[in-house]
Symmetry: C2
Subunit: 391 residues, 2 copies
């Protein structure tokens, strides 16, 4: 098949707030080839990602992503590798390129799965899709009481795992944070998995992060996520060395396989969290999952938008029985829910599995997302380089 | 002073080819505050960098660069640090942000230097500006004969150092490459510095790169630049361990200080090459220069566009007497020459120095660049987010 069209759609809630909730907008990618359609989703910042797809070439190693994709043939996984290698080399100097290509790559896998009538995880060489324990991603409350209520609600909603993030953590005394951790554990009950995400709040201040370890250990947190700037490998390793049972988690910012590998090798993380919408798509994420197995580290997806992104993010580790924890968008905005007409729902025992249907196994609900479409136009010189395509 | 306006200007040659020559387009940044003007330049991909400045917020950790800059006060270097930290944190999920902010940051230093009537290198705490040996950046010819001619011409043009890059290297047998290295050395003469840049052609194939070491050592090359993907730290270190006199160079892709540090600490490079138009500007580049001194590694600028970019790139290591080699755009396109009305010219002994004049010490030639201006417009929803400002 030849790639005939790659169309990008910028969707947004009518109002976007400064809450750290990534489900407030979306960039969907539709790829058409051989009478089939594949869909993918880029994580964050729709406009710069559109620009990286359509921009004029700056020079031979700074070409738009489109130059490596349009008109290419796509019949086997090897074709996706070839296209990905071309993007990596020819768009070497275009920083945004991996984010843009991530959505395109997902769509190529979806297309290929549909062509061969198999789920993507099977194309990736995995023989079955194992159940995962979805965790609810929640924000800490402003007070421990609020956090307690949110934790109780998550448990009442049937979640056996929850991650609390951001909010006041790291912004006042460590003892205040301890109270938050106690509240989260109390609300979840003793048998649920508790994780904590502090959104890089400690920069590279190891002592400040370490001051929270006692409280995290006491609350039996499984991991402490993103204590530092994603590049602060030494700080990650130093903090990891001071942990008893809690592990350091990170990796969502990785925009290539090397960055994830360095977090494992030099940063000593215990959980490597990959966003398929940033790292370049499903194939590089699968490479990281293989590295994680080899290094004795646990692979986790990073996903907080639609079930299209969720399905894509489950493919790389669907076949890894022992890597069971899975980020699950627990309370996404209406837009993110509207993107797919079917959803990856929790089963009786609370677990979820990657779809068995061909491709990514989710259908795009074109009619429901139409109201969220943001008409966008980019003109350079006298030429319209981008205008929202017909959905 | 309060930052009143940040204006971005997309400039381009009438025709852009796939030659790996970064001087074919430019993104200039003009910052206005307190009746003064500062100028900076972002490296590569003008359109995505404009988009990263003006895009709507996706969520609290994915804000446009403009949100951290416009309306801020700017009186001292500490103000630049504060703004940079805000961009880093609030635009954490916007991959293109460091490239965009790089040009803004340069302009802020230029502005501050003008306000205090001192060159930027003095604001950075350096007591004098030491002479540098400029090297001509050239492409290998298709044949050794062509390379020989180019090397002879560089020498005739007064260069005592030259770097040859890209072209056929790594694309056929190692013995073919050896002939190219011999030709380059012959053309330059025995007393000039010779450097070789292979533009990541070996991916992460250490054996393939190592097969070129004998030829590089025989030609007395000072460094082998970017043998691998910028993230392939292990490959860099493995190759470095196999070198005798030649050193590995890299770092141009670093979009934060950590990436440069890892090339030094884990990649074992001997030369760390920083592009101020990518790493976030002059202050993070200066941090890398300090790291290089501490680690016994040599700092080198990466610059192949205008003398505005060249001046900015010289500031971080102007005061380092022993870090003498300096990339110098030897044959830039007319656009890059037109950007400044004064230039950093070679003196009698062939060396150059960072300007003594206030700020970055170069003046923008508004009339000469006007013909290169590319009118650009970005509309999202019904709102025009960007339209080329009045130059």
């Amino acid at each position: 098949m030849q790639i005939e069209a790659v169309d990008l759609f910028y969707l947004s809630m009518p109002e976007v707030t400064d809450e750290v909730d990534g489900s407030q907008d979306a960039l969907l990618v539709r790829v058409r080839a051989g009478g089939l359609e594949g869909w993918g989703e880029c994580e964050a910042a729709p406009l710069p990602s559109i620009a990286a797809f359509v921009c004029p070439m700056s020079h031979g190693a700074c070409r738009p992503v489109s130059a490596s994709v349009l008109g290419e043939t796509i019949d086997t996984p090897a074709d996706i590798s070839r296209i990905a290698a071309r993007v990596e080399y020819d768009s070497m100097d275009l920083l945004q390129a991996p984010h843009t290509f991530s959505g395109v790559e997902m769509a190529l896998w979806d297309l290929l799965g549909k062509k061969h009538s198999v789920p993507v995880w099977r194309l990736l060489g995995q023989s079955r899709s194992h159940p995962k324990i979805p965790y609810a991603s929640l924000l800490f409350g402003d007070t421990p009481e609020e956090t307690l209520m949110r934790a109780r609600k998550a448990r009442a909603d049937g979640f056996n795992a929850a991650k609390f993030g951001w909010g006041p953590i790291g912004r006042s005394a460590a003892s205040d944070d301890d109270e938050q951790f106690v509240a989260a554990r109390e609300g979840l009950g003793s048998d649920a998995h508790l994780m904590v995400d502090v959104g890089q709040v400690f920069g590279d201040d190891v002592a400040a992060a370490a001051a929270r370890l006692r409280g995290l250990e006491a609350a039996r947190a499984l991991w402490l996520e993103e204590p530092f700037h994603a590049g602060a490998l030494e700080a990650h390793a130093q903090l990891a060395a001071r942990c008893q049972r809690v592990r350091i988690a990170g990796g969502e910012a990785a925009h290539n396989v090397y960055m994830a590998r360095h977090l494992i090798d030099y940063g000593a993380v215990g959980y490597i969290q990959i966003d398929c919408g940033r790292i370049g798509g499903i194939a590089p994420a699968t490479k990281v999952a293989e590295m994680a197995v080899a290094a004795g580290v646990t692979y986790v997806n990073h996903t907080f938008t639609s079930h299209l992104a969720l399905s894509a993010s489950m493919q790389p580790f669907a076949g890894l029985e022992d890597h069971r924890i899975c980020e699950y968008p627990a309370a996404p905005k209406d837009l993110a829910v509207a993107i797919t007409s079917n959803h990856i729902t929790r089963r009786g025992n609370g677990t979820i599995i990657a779809p068995e249907a061909p491709g990514l196994g989710v259908a795009i609900d074109v009619e429901r997302i139409r109201p969220y479409l943001v008409e966008t136009e980019i003109t350079v010189g006298k030429q319209v380089l981008y205008r929202t395509p017909v959905l």
